[in-house]
Every structure is written in C-alpha cells, then in structure tokens.
Amino acid sequence: MYKQQVIRRIFLCFLPGLLYPFSLLAQHAVEVAAKADTSSIRLGEQIKLQLTATISAAQFKDANFKVVFPVLPDSLDHFEVISRTGLDTASNAGQKVLHQTFTLTSFDSGHWEIPPMRFEVFAGASTAHDSALTLPIGIDVNTVAVDTTKAFKPIKAVQSVPWNIWDYWLYIVIGVVVILLAIGLWWYFRKRPKKEPVIKTPTVTPYELAMHELQSLKEEKLWQQGDIKQYYTRLTDILRTYFEHQFGIAALEQTSEELLRNIKPVTKLNQQRDKLRSLLAIADLAKFAKMQPTADEHEGCMRQAEEILEWTKPKIEPVNETVNEKPSV
C-alpha cells in the first residue's frame, strides 16, 4: 500500500514534464484553416484557395513564436498551382490573421480532394515545434455537357468588333494638332517679311585675280632667290586656277598633255596653244626634272602667261552677280 503511494507521488512529480510539449500548442492556440471559394468548377476554371492562420496578439509579440505556412509545389494531385500571393497579415479583435491565397485549376474531371495543408508552429527558445493540419477540401471538376443528339457546328470565324470613334480619339486629336501646326507654320512663313536677296558684287574677276597673283609672284622674286621649282609651280597653278574659273576646265586635276587636249573646244584659249605648250614644257622640266631654265626663260614664261591671260580675258566684265549664280573668286 505504501509502495503504491510512493509510486503515485513520483508519477505526479514527473507528470508536468511529460505533458509540457503537448501543452505548447494549447497555450499558443493557433487556428489554421484552408478555404476554397468554390467546391465545383468546370475544366480549366480557377479556384481561389485561401490558407489562414489565426494567432492571439499576445503570442504574436513573442519573438520566438513563428508559424511556417505550407510550401505548395507547382502541381498537386489533379490540381495545378497557377499563382500564389505573398503572406499577408491582418489584425482582428485582438488576434492576428496570417493568410496566403493560391490560384489553382484542374484539367481532370471528377471529384478530387485538395489534401490537408501542414503548418509548422514554433514557440519558445527550444527548437521543438508542432504541426497543425487543415481539413481536406473536396472539389468537383466537371466537363462541359455535350448534347450529342445535335449536329456539331464549325468553329466560329473571327468576329469583328463594331467600329467606335472613341477607340481612335487619340489619333484624331494628334492628327488635328498636326494639321493645325502645319497651317500655322505655313501662315507664319507666308506672312513673314521676305529678306531681300543679298547682292554681292564680285570683288575680283578670274582675270584680275590671276593678274594680281602673277604680280605677287614677280614681286616675291622666287627664281632670283633660286627657288625655281616653287616659281614654276606657282606660275602653272595660277594659270590652271584661271582656266578652271574662267572656262570651267578642271585644269588642276589634269596633266599638261591632258590640259592641252582639253582646251581645244575653247577657241580663244586654243589660239594660245603653242605659248601654253612651251610654258608647260619648261615648267614640267623645272618641276619634275630639276632643270634650271635661264633667266630669259623665266621672264619669257611670265610674259607668256600674261599674254595668255590678256588674250583670253572676257571683253565684257560682269557687273553684278548673285551669290547663288556663280562662285566668286
């Protein structure tokens, strides 16, 4: 009898320790639930599945308290998970409600169950935790009823939407603005006072320019200083530039032979052909063969150049020229 009493006292001493883990869930009293927005869908229709965990506010403040929501794979048996929201928290009469919504669908007809969802509840400093399960949810997935007594109909063609002006209001507004802008610009430029064309009197004619350049060349006394090559280069360049501006012959890009060939159509210039040939021949020798012509030849070439210019200068000098008509020289 005494022995039984001793055993009962020992048992009573250890009983709180044995019951402690089971008391955790009762102390924290977490309510979990799974709720579907419908219990019957047609193939491919969507179901909103909401998982909820309700916790008292006092427990929620406990830093070690934690509820872990179930992690759903992309597909469950007979169901596909289309999307999932984040975890949301709401307060309700001294309680905290955590919820997460999943969008599911199914393409298998029949009666299927969404399995129970497992929530993990952690409390206290220890790693001990408990699980809470929701109830399974039955869903009827129905096919579309086909009336086989009636004939099959073909697939409908693309249906056109009736025209509505308000569908195009933005384009119409843009179009009107562009037209108004164009009219405004046209009006502005039409009414704007026109600028008087600038009349530019050519400062110097090709002939005058060439004569001036020859004069400068003389004054520079290049051949007297021994720079014969430069003297003939300048002399022929002056003549070639003059031919280019006065007669439109691209003389600067032509060799001596080509130039002599191409002056043929210009009668006045062609009359000076022999003088030009002899001048170019001496110049070529001085420029490309280091020949040293005599002083008489230097002066003779200068004289010939002047004679060519005099002979070919235009009789009537143009008085005025607009900028756009002819390049001034």
């Binding site: 691209a250 890009e253 490309f288």
Partner: protein, 333 residues
C-alpha cells in the same frame, strides 16, 4: 645622294641613248603582231620594272604570240604552261626523279626555268599550283628537294585569265593577284587590224621571222637605268595621293566612293606604281618621271588592287570607274 640638275641632264641623255632599243623592239614585234601595241608596251614595262603581268582577255588575241615574239626578240628562253585542274606543283617547278643507272635521285627542272613564262589560264589550276608559281614569281628562286635554284634573269611571267568562262575555275585570291605588277585588260583588234591579221595568216610564208634585237644582258642593264630614273618628291606625293584616295576617298572629296570600295591599294600598289612609272618614263626615253607617266599606267597597276563592295557590283561599278573618279579628283602637281 641627291640628284643635281646636271646629274639629271646627264641621266636624261644616257637614258635617251640606252632606251633606243625599245623602239627597235616594238618595230620588230610589229612585224608579226598586228595591233596589240598596248599589250606589248605593258609587257615591256613589266620586263623593265621587274614585275609580272596578268592579262585578261578572250582567247585568240595573240597573247602567246606576243610573249613568244618578245622572247625571240630578246633571245631569251620561253616556256608555256597550260594550267589545268589536274596540274601539280611539280609539273610547274620540277621534281626529283630516281635514276636507276646511277642509283640516285636527280633533279628534273620544270618549265618555270625560263626567262619568259606564259601561264595560260592560271585560274584553271588549284590553289597549290597557283601558289607554287606565285612564290617563284616573288622569290625568283625554286627549291626542289634540298637544293635551291635561282631563276634566270630576266624573269617575266605573263599569266592569262579568261573573263568569260568562270565555271570550274579557281579565282586568284586578292593577296595573290596583288603580286602581279600589272593587270592588263585587252580587247578585240580594230577592223583594219583584223583585216591585216587575216592576210598575214593566209600567207604565212610572207611573214618575216623575229630577229634577236637585244640580249637578256641588255635588259639587265636597262633595268639598272630604270632604277636611276629621277622621281621628284611631287610625283611621289601624287602617287601616294592616288593610292590613299582608294583607301580614304572621303579625304579627297570623294565620300560617295566610300560605300563602293571594300579595300584600297596596298603599299605594294604604291611601290609598283612608282616602278612602273619609272619604266614608262624610260620607254618614253626620259630620265625623269612626269605626272603623265603615273596616269598612263595607273589603271593597269591599280585595277586589281581596288576591292569592290557588293553594292558596287550591284550597281555595275567597276574598279576602272572608281579610278577614273579618283584621277579626276586628285590634284596633279
């Protein structure tokens, strides 16, 4: 050492005398070749400037006759190689043959061992044969087995291409074409010339055989003089302007050519243009180069060195069109 005025005058006189053979040579060749003066002149430029000539023209334009006659007039050895798809490099340069009597390998020299080579229809042979020839052209020597043989000088290769039949041909790559100093395009003779050709062929007995006018040694002497021909700095600049205009046309107010040119002339183009201009001046019996010389040979030196884009080909623009534009835009010194 810089040339002085009197040096050039002396050189001019020397070249005036030394180049007299050019006229004699032309006259001698004129005995058998009717027309084609242009082609003969280009062959002489190649010969004097140590370059090789690529000839493009339809068959029957006296290409073989020209080079054969030139060879006879110079008393040089001539050899012709007909390029075919089954030709091997050994068929061109030679090979080692086993001599059973002597129990040793002996060298059998190929047809390339001559002064004048006619590489007929070069684009019919595969790349390895082409490159064997082109290497020999560049190096002027051949290696068979362990032995290297210097090729005889003067050494001139006249390669031909048929512009019509392109099927089954191996087009020469740009890098290989660049090795030819000149690419000459020849056309049909005139009516008058062709009449003479008919008469000449109907009466071959009346045709005078070609006499040797000069010896290969004279050509070597002439080459030395060609090297001495004076080229002024202005001419050098003109050559560079032309070549650079093919590379950067926009710098010469020719931006419209930019989309038509795939690649411009290489430095070899500048070198060859200078050499050919000197040779041309020599042939004109001058001791100095003038811009006319450069312009005269410019098309033949440059036409195969200007690459065209697909856009140019679609618009039927040729390298000659591009070169004409360039020559009309680059200022002559």
């Amino acid at each position: 050492m810089e040339n002085t005025s009197s040096d050039i005058r002396q050189l001019n006189e020397k070249i005036h005398q030394a180049s007299a053979f050019v006229d004699l040579l032309s006259m001698e060749l004129g005995k058998v070749i009717v027309g084609q003066r242009y082609m003969v002149e280009r062959l002489l430029i190649g010969l004097l400037a140590q370059g090789h000539v690529l000839l493009e023209g339809v068959p029957g334009l006296a290409k073989t006759l020209s080079i054969k006659s030139l060879s006879s007039a110079i008393n040089a050895k001539f050899s012709r190689i007909q390029f075919t798809p089954d030709l091997l490099p050994a068929d061109v340069i030679g090979t080692m043959i086993y001599n059973q009597q002597k129990n040793e390998f002996v060298v059998r020299r190929g047809p390339i061992f001559a002064n004048f080579i006619l590489a007929d229809e070069i684009n019919r042979a595969p790349a390895k044969v082409q490159s064997a020839l082109l290497e020999a052209m560049q190096e002027r020597q051949i290696t068979i087995g362990d032995t290297t043989f210097k090729l005889d000088e003067p050494f001139l290769v006249l390669a031909t291409q048929n512009p019509i039949e392109q099927e089954g041909t191996y087009t020469l790559p740009e890098a290989q074409v660049d090795r030819f100093m000149l690419k000459v395009v020849i056309g049909y003779p005139t009516k008058e010339e062709e009449k003479l050709i008919i008469r000449q062929n109907l009466n071959p007995e009346a045709m005078t055989p070609i006499r040797p006018i000069i010896q290969p040694g004279d050509i070597m002497e002439a080459r030395k003089l060609v090297r001495e021909v004076y080229m002024d700095e202005k001419i050098e600049k003109y050559i560079l302007d032309i070549v650079f205009a093919t590379r950067n046309p926009e710098e010469y107010k020719l931006a419209k050519l930019k989309p038509l040119i795939a690649y411009g002339g290489s430095p070899r183009a500048s070198i060859n243009l200078a050499w050919a201009a000197k040779a041309y001046a020599f042939m004109k019996r001058r001791g100095y180069v003038i811009p006319e010389d450069v312009r005269n040979i410019c098309f033949d030196v440059m036409r195969h060195r200007v690459g065209l884009t697909y856009e140019a080909e679609a618009e039927n623009v040729t390298s000659e069109n591009i070169l004409s534009e360039i020559l009309n835009a680059v200022e002559v010194p």
